[in-house]
Amino acid sequence: MIAVLALLVGVVLGVYLDPTVPAALQPYLPIAVVAALDAVFGGFRAKMDKIFDDKQFVVSFISNVLVAALIVYLGDQLGAGGQLSTAVVVVLGVRIFGNVAAIRRHLFRA
């Protein structure tokens, strides 16, 4: 419940403050958001499985975001930024799909 409220607060803040993304962060922000989404879905699924752990969630969230951004940064330095960010998005997308499928089975038993 608190998590949902926090998410809503963040959305509202983003809408009202309307900040501009610094140019240096622009390539990493989308990937970081996708990684965070992956962590959130994983945490939700863990909640469904009754194996949710606060600390684990926090650590996985942060590390997911950092690793995703790091991979993209490394890719940019190596000159393969576009391909690596595609790879990261694909991997995270697959994981999100898996997690959502698990959540769905829990919710609808199908």
């Binding site: 922000l29 499985d49 009754k50 949710f52 996985s60 969230f61 930024g81 089975r105």
Partner: protein, 302 residues
């Protein structure tokens, strides 16, 4: 299977039966420790679903035990989660806004920009080639049109010339009016023919001969002159009566000289007692037409 075991086996079946249900039920125990929640592979849920009832059983215990800890943890890890999720919502919205408001180029990365630029360059090159080819064909078409126009003009000019020579077109220009007035004897056809030949030789371009009643005949290459019975002159089948007037277009000085040479037309007519009156005219109108000649046998070569 189990029945057989009970019947045949002596002491085994009894312990085995209880052990079995405990197997699946026992699985959830290791699981809570094992997983990073994220690292569950997408394939595992199938197994997990089968195990769902046991998991619920074990979960049934948890709420009663963990209800108090949840409220306690809100201070530390719960707050962290809230902050992280708020951050996620924030960045999500910001990113969405950025991608929706940014024009496509400002948000693209450098290599993409380079690619777009080179794409545009090659496209420009192709378009330039297209322009060059089109201009080339335009030039060709224009010159072709000019050539066609020139050929048309030339053909028209030739048609006019030939029409004047063949007597199918009226003509106007500087020239002479030659009037033959008979004296004691009528003007003979040979005199007129001589005069016509002389004028042709002097460069006459168009001629017509008129009788006293104003009837006129265009003189062309095939025109003949015969003395008519009972006086007068047959020209191309028409009967003319004297005095005759020849209107001729050409260089008047040359033609006048040709008519006046000693022993020429003027002298011969004077010998017969007649008179030839030659007048210069600024504009002689040769308006009489000759019907076009239909060629039956001759065909142009080529």
């Amino acid at each position: 299977m189990s029945e057989e075991h009970r019947e045949t086996g002596t002491g085994w079946p009894e312990p085995v039966e209880p052990a079995r249900p405990s197997g699946p039920a026992g699985e959830p125990d290791p699981r809570p420790d094992a997983p990073d929640p994220d690292e569950l592979s997408p394939l595992t849920p199938a197994e997990r679903e089968a195990d769902a009832p046991p998991a619920e059983e074990s979960a049934g215990e948890e709420p009663s035990g963990s209800a108090a800890p949840v409220s306690r943890r809100l201070t530390s890890a719960g707050a962290m989660i809230a902050v992280l999720l708020a951050l996620l919502g924030f960045t999500l919205v910001v990113q969405l806004k950025t991608t929706s408001t940014d024009s496509s180029l400002a948000a693209t990365r450098e290599e993409d920009l380079v690619r777009i630029s080179s794409d545009l360059d090659s496209r420009e090159r192709r378009l330039r080639q297209d322009i060059a080819a089109l201009e080339d064909s335009q030039r060709q078409l224009r010159s072709g049109e000019q050539g066609r126009q020139a050929a048309l003009d030339e053909a028209t000019r030739r048609a006019d010339e030939l029409g004047i020579l063949a007597g199918t077109l009226p003509a106007v220009g500087p020239g002479l009016s030659v009037r033959f007035v008979g004296g004691g004897k009528a003007i003979a056809a040979t005199r007129i023919l001589d005069a016509v030949q002389e004028l042709r030789g002097a460069g006459a371009e168009a001629m017509q001969i008129a009788g006293s009643d104003g009837a006129a005949v265009r003189v062309i290459a095939s025109t003949y002159f015969v003395d008519a019975q009972g006086g007068g002159l047959m020209v191309d089948g028409r009967r003319l009566t004297g005095p005759y007037t020849i209107l001729v277009i050409g260089d008047s000085a040359t033609m006048r000289t040709a008519l006046n040479i000693p022993g020429g037309v003027v002298a011969s007519v004077a010998d017969d007692g007649g008179n030839v009156i030659v007048e210069d005219r600024e504009a002689v109108e040769v308006s009489q037409l000759h019907a076009p000649i239909k060629l039956e046998h001759a065909r142009p070569v080529s």
